[in-house]
C-alpha cells in the first residue's frame, strides 16, 4: 500500500513537475526497504537496489530537464541515457564494494562506531566545502 503511495507521489511530482519532491519517494522506499530487512541477514541484492535508486533519481531529474530543453542537435539525449546507465552500473559496483567492505571483520565496539560517525560527518563536510568553494 505504502509502495503505491510512493509511486503516486513520484508520478505527481513528475507530472507537475516538482523537483523538490523527488527525493521523498526515494526516502520512503528506502525506509520500506529497511523495514523489510528487519534484523535479518545482510541483503546481498542491496547494490542492485542502490543502482536502481540512482537510476530512478537520475531519470526523474532528466525528465524535468527534457521538458524545458531546447532543440537538440548533438545527440545529447543518447549521451545522457548512456551516462545514466553508466552511473547506475557504477552505483551497483560501488555498492558492492561497500557491501564487501562490511564483511571484513575489523572488530566492533563504541570506538569503531565513533570512527564511523566521524567518517560519515567528514565525508559530508568535504562535500559541503566543495559545494561552497565552487559557488
Amino acid at each position: 500500500m505504502l509502495a503505491l503511495v510512493v509511486v503516486v507521489l513520484l508520478a505527481v511530482s513528475l507530472a507537475v513537475p516538482l523537483p523538490s519532491l523527488f527525493p521523498w519517494p526515494l526516502v520512503v522506499l528506502a525506509a520500506l526497504y529497511a523495514w523489510t530487512l528487519g534484523g535479518g541477514e545482510v541483503d546481498q541484492w542491496s547494490p542492485m537496489y542502490a543502482g536502481a535508486f540512482v537510476a530512478v533519481a537520475e531519470l526523474a531529474y532528466w525528465s524535468v530537464e527534457l521538458r524545458g530543453r531546447a532543440q537538440d542537435s548533438e545527440r545529447l539525449t543518447e549521451r545522457r541515457a548512456a551516462l545514466i546507465a553508466v552511473l547506475s552500473l557504477l552505483g551497483v559496483t560501488a555498492g558492492g564494494l561497500v557491501l564487501a567492505a562490511t564483511s571484513i571483520d575489523v572488530g566492533s565496539g563504541i570506538l569503531l562506531d565513533l570512527v564511523g560517525v566521524a567518517a560519515a560527518i567528514g565525508a559530508l563536510v568535504v562535500v559541503a566545502r566543495l559545494a561552497r568553494t565552487r559557488s
Binding site: 523527488f22 526516502v27 531529474y61 531546447a70
Partner: protein
C-alpha cells in the same frame, strides 16, 4: 556567468547524508550501500565542476533588409573549456520569423572547439530592431550546477517596407520654381510646346516658329511649358489602426504605401516631406534626394500608434512643413475624427489634397447576427458618406486594399482630378 545549484545537488546531498546516518543508527549496511552512489555522484560532480568559458560573437549578414527578405544571423562560439550541455537562445523580434535553424537550441562543445551556427530569419514586417542578445545556460556533466549568462552582441537591423509597383504618380496641380520633371502649367523655358505668340523684341531667334511665321506673314514664336519640381507632403494618419489578430494592420499597409510614394516622388526630383499625424506629431521638412528618402523611411520605421485622447488639429502642424502649392497626399484609414477634420481643414486652406484610404473594411471581422450585420452596414454607409463629403470639397478619396495594385488607386485619383478640373471649367 552566474552559477546556480540544481535541485539535484541538495537532494543527493540529503539522500547521501540520510542514508549514511540511518545505516549508523539502525546498524544496517544496506542503507549505506544505497547512499553510496549518491555520495559518489555528488563528490565526482563537485570535483569536476568548472565554470565554462565561452567566447560568443554574433553577426548579421546585413544591416538593412526589405520585408520578405531573409537575414542570416551567424553565431560564432569558441569554448575555452569543455561544455557538456549549452543552451543558447537568441530572442528575435516579432517581425522576424525563423525559417532555418531554431532558437533556443542545445549543443555540446569540446575543449577549444569553435562552432558556427547560422539562423535564417525572414523579415515579416518593417521596423527598426536590435538583434543579438544571446542568453547562455551551461550545465556540467552530472547536472549539479547551471551557469547562466547574457552576452550583448546586439546589431542594428532595419527592415524597410517593400515597395509597391508604381509606374505613374499623381501630379500636383501647381509646380514650384525649381527644375524638375513635372511639366508646369505656366509658360517659360522648357521642352513641351505650350502655345504660339507674336514675336516680341528680345525673343530668342531659335524660338521662332518659321512655319507659323510664313503662314501669317509676321514672326511668331513658340511658347513652352517649363519642367519644374513639385512639393509633395505625405500625411500619414497614425491615430488609430485596424488590425487582424496576429496579422497585419492598416498602419503596416499605410507605411508601405507612404514609403513607395516618397521613393517615387523623390526619383522625379520632387521635394517630399512627411507628417506623421497621430498620438505624437512627427514631421520632416520637404527636401529632395536620396538622403531625404532615407530620412523619410527611417522616420516611417519609428511610426507607431500612440493612444491619445488629446484633440489635435491643423494648428499643431508646423507651417514650414506645408509649403504653398504642395500636394498633400494623405494615407489614412479615415477612422479617427481628428485626422478626418484636419484633412478637411487643410483643404479649406486651399491645399491640393488627395486621400489614399487604407481600407479598414478588410480588417473588420464578419458580422454574425442580425444586429451586427445592421451595424456593419451602417458603418459602411457612414464611410461612404464621409468619402462623399470629401469629394464635395474636391478631394479625391480612393479606397485601397492590401493586395491590390497601388497603381490602380492612384489612377483613380488622377481620373477624379481630371474630372474635377473639367467640371470647374
Amino acid at each position: 556567468m552566474k552559477r546556480t545549484a540544481s535541485p539535484k545537488l541538495g537532494a543527493y546531498a540529503g539522500l547521501a547524508a540520510l542514508g549514511l546516518l540511518a545505516a549508523l543508527v539502525l546498524g544496517r549496511p544496506e542503507l549505506a550501500v544505497i547512499a553510496t552512489p549518491f555520495a559518489l555522484v555528488l563528490f565526482a560532480g563537485l570535483v569536476a565542476a568548472r565554470e565554462p568559458q565561452i567566447l560568443v560573437s554574433l553577426e548579421l549578414d546585413r544591416e538593412r533588409a526589405i520585408e520578405g527578405e531573409i537575414v542570416t544571423i551567424t553565431i560564432d562560439l569558441h569554448a575555452l573549456t569543455p561544455v557538456e550541455r549549452l543552451e543558447l537562445h537568441v530572442p528575435l523580434p516579432d517581425n522576424l520569423e525563423l525559417v532555418e535553424g531554431g532558437t533556443p537550441f542545445t549543443l555540446r562543445l569540446a575543449w577549444d572547439e569553435e562552432r558556427t551556427i547560422e539562423l535564417k530569419a525572414r523579415c515579416k514586417r518593417w521596423g527598426a530592431h536590435l538583434v543579438g542578445e544571446v542568453f547562455l545556460r551551461a550545465h556540467d556533466r552530472l547536472d549539479l550546477f547551471g551557469y547562466e549568462g547574457t552576452v550583448d552582441r546586439r546589431r542594428p537591423l532595419k527592415i524597410y517596407p517593400r515597395a509597391e509597383e508604381l509606374r505613374s504618380l499623381v501630379p500636383p496641380l501647381e509646380t514650384q520654381v525649381f527644375t524638375g520633371n513635372q511639366v508646369a502649367r505656366t509658360k517659360g523655358e522648357g521642352i513641351e510646346f505650350a502655345d504660339l505668340r507674336r514675336y516680341e523684341h528680345g525673343d530668342a531667334l531659335r524660338r521662332i516658329n518659321w512655319r507659323a511665321s510664313a503662314r501669317r506673314g509676321e514672326l511668331w514664336v513658340n511658347e513652352m511649358h517649363p519642367e519644374r519640381n513639385t512639393d509633395v507632403i505625405i500625411f500619414l494618419d497614425t491615430f488609430v489602426e485596424a488590425r487582424e489578430e496576429e496579422g497585419e494592420s492598416t498602419l503596416d499597409v499605410a507605411v508601405r504605401a507612404a514609403a513607395t510614394l516618397a521613393d517615387r516622388y523623390l526619383r522625379r526630383k520632387d521635394r517630399v516631406g512627411l507628417i506623421g499625424f497621430g498620438g505624437y506629431l512627427n514631421w520632416l521638412l520637404p527636401s529632395s534626394g536620396l538622403i531625404q528618402l532615407y530620412r523619410i523611411v527611417d522616420s516611417l520605421l519609428d511610426t507607431e500608434i500612440i493612444l491619445s485622447y488629446a484633440w489635435k488639429g491643423v494648428d499643431v502642424i508646423p507651417p514650414r512643413t506645408l509649403p504653398p502649392k504642395a500636394l498633400i497626399f494623405a494615407v489614412s484609414p479615415l477612422l479617427d475624427e481628428r485626422a478626418v477634420t484636419t484633412l478637411l481643414d487643410l483643404r479649406a486652406r486651399g491645399f491640393d489634397l488627395a486621400v489614399l484610404e487604407v481600407s479598414p473594411v478588410a480588417f473588420a471581422s464578419a458580422a454574425t447576427g442580425e444586429r451586427e450585420e445592421l451595424a456593419y452596414r451602417l458603418w459602411r454607409l457612414k464611410r461612404d458618406a464621409l468619402r462623399a463629403r470629401y469629394q464635395r470639397f474636391g478631394v479625391p478619396v480612393v479606397e485601397w486594399h492590401e493586395g491590390e495594385p497601388l497603381e490602380g488607386a492612384l489612377a483613380e485619383v488622377g481620373a477624379f482630378r481630371r474630372q474635377a478640373r473639367y467640371s470647374r471649367v
